[in-house]
Every structure is written in C-alpha cells, then in structure tokens.
C-alpha cells in the first residue's frame, strides 16, 4: 500500500490557470507538509498542517492555498499560475510536529511535476 500518494504525477498547464494537487497519507500521521523543489534541487517547505490546523506558512504567494479536509489529506490549490511556479511539489507526513518527542521523520510522496507554459 502506498503510504503517501499524490495526484496527479505530472501537470502541464498554461499561465493564468488555476490547478490543484491532492495528497493523501494512510499512515495515521497527524502532520502533513507541502514542499517545492526547484530546478536547482533546492527543497523548500511551504506549508505544514497538524490535525487540520495550519502550523507553518512560509513566505509563499497567497496564490497558493492549502486545504486539509481531514488529517489524512492535504491539498494544494494554486491560482493564476506563473512560469516561476514550475517545479516538483512534494507532499510529506510525519507522526509528530517539528521538535516533538516523536522526532520529525517524514514520509514523502512521489512528487508532482508542474510545468507552466
């Protein structure tokens, strides 16, 4: 069984469109994350939710809006897509939150490669 799954795996769209990426984890974890990995392989945290509540919101344009309908799902909606949004987006989950006694071991999804043309 896939622990952390993301859909779609590839997404090609035009500038100005709105798109969503879905993430689901079946590990029973309380915390989920979205990361962006750019062409230089730099992996940057975007958001983190713990039990459906936003706990980390890095400096990300407000065109990006995460939504957590339940603690097993964390979706990422992007409005008015721009060329610079092209990247691979990774979802991850962990049992606890950063700095908790559970540690931060994260399980990553396979990634969604977004290409904006």
């Amino acid at each position: 069984d896939t622990a952390v799954s993301q859909t779609p795996k590839y997404l090609v769209t035009q500038m100005g469109n709105d798109k969503s990426i879905k993430c689901e984890q079946n590990l029973g974890h309380d915390t989920m994350y979205w990361y962006k990995q750019d062409s230089k392989k730099f992996l940057k945290i975007m958001f983190s939710y713990n039990n459906k509540e936003l706990i980390i919101n890095e400096t990300v344009p407000n065109r990006f809006s995460p939504k957590s309908p339940d603690k097993a799902h964390l979706n990422l909606h992007i409005n008015s897509l721009e060329l610079g949004d092209s990247a691979v987006y990774f979802c991850a989950s962990s049992r606890g939150t950063s700095g908790s006694n559970f540690g931060d071991e994260q399980y990553f999804g396979p990634g969604t490669r977004l290409t904006v043309t």
Binding site: L43, S48, G99, G103, D104, E105, F108
Partner: protein, 105 residues
C-alpha cells in the same frame, strides 16, 4: 527557517569505496535527519540523530553530530551502484541542495 547546507555538492567514487558527506547548519536543533532522493523520486528517510547523540549507525550508514560546531556527517561504507542518489540533511524542515553521490560500478 533553518536550512542545512551539504558539502560537497557532488561526489563521484568507485563501488566499494566509502563516501562522506557533510552538513552545516546555523541555529540550535532538537535533532537532525538525513534523507536520500533517487532521481525523479520522493525523499526517503535514512537516519535521525538527536541533539544529545554524537554518533549513530544504521547498516552501512554512520552519522555523526557535533552540536558545538553545528555540523553533521554521513558516511556510507562499502558503497554500491544503488547508492547513487542525492543526499540531504534536514536540521529542521528546510533542506539544502543536497550532495549528489555517484557510485561507479
């Protein structure tokens, strides 16, 4: 947020040799983790070392942590071609650019 910086950026070795990668960070941490990423795939957790630990082993992996120097190292012994990947350290939730390790058969 805190970012780990891996060094070197790229490392190429022969199968059977050992590979050492280093990580530096800036502020205090509770723990530090190392991850591997195969090309085009998600990251896979390798090992977590807590701030009160100095060394940890897992199979062919050995991780050290020096909190006074804010640095960590990952040693892979007896490397294999399948170890070819990018390796990232994560002092907290932000990763660096990683070290691209190539193990030549």
């Amino acid at each position: 947020s805190q970012q780990g910086e891996e060094d070197p950026q790229a490392l190429s070795i022969q199968e059977g040799e050992n590979a050492t990668m280093n990580c530096s960070y800036k502020t205090s941490i509770n723990n530090l983790q190392w991850y591997r990423q195969n090309s085009g795939r998600g990251l896979v957790h390798l090992i977590l070392i807590r701030s009160n630990e100095r060394e940890k082993h897992s199979g062919r992996l050995r991780v050290t942590l020096d909190t006074s120097k804010k640095s960590s190292s990952l040693l892979i012994t007896a490397s294999r071609a399948a170890d070819t990947a990018s390796y990232f350290c994560a002092p907290k939730l932000t990763f660096g650019k990683g070290t691209l390790l190539t193990v030549n058969p």
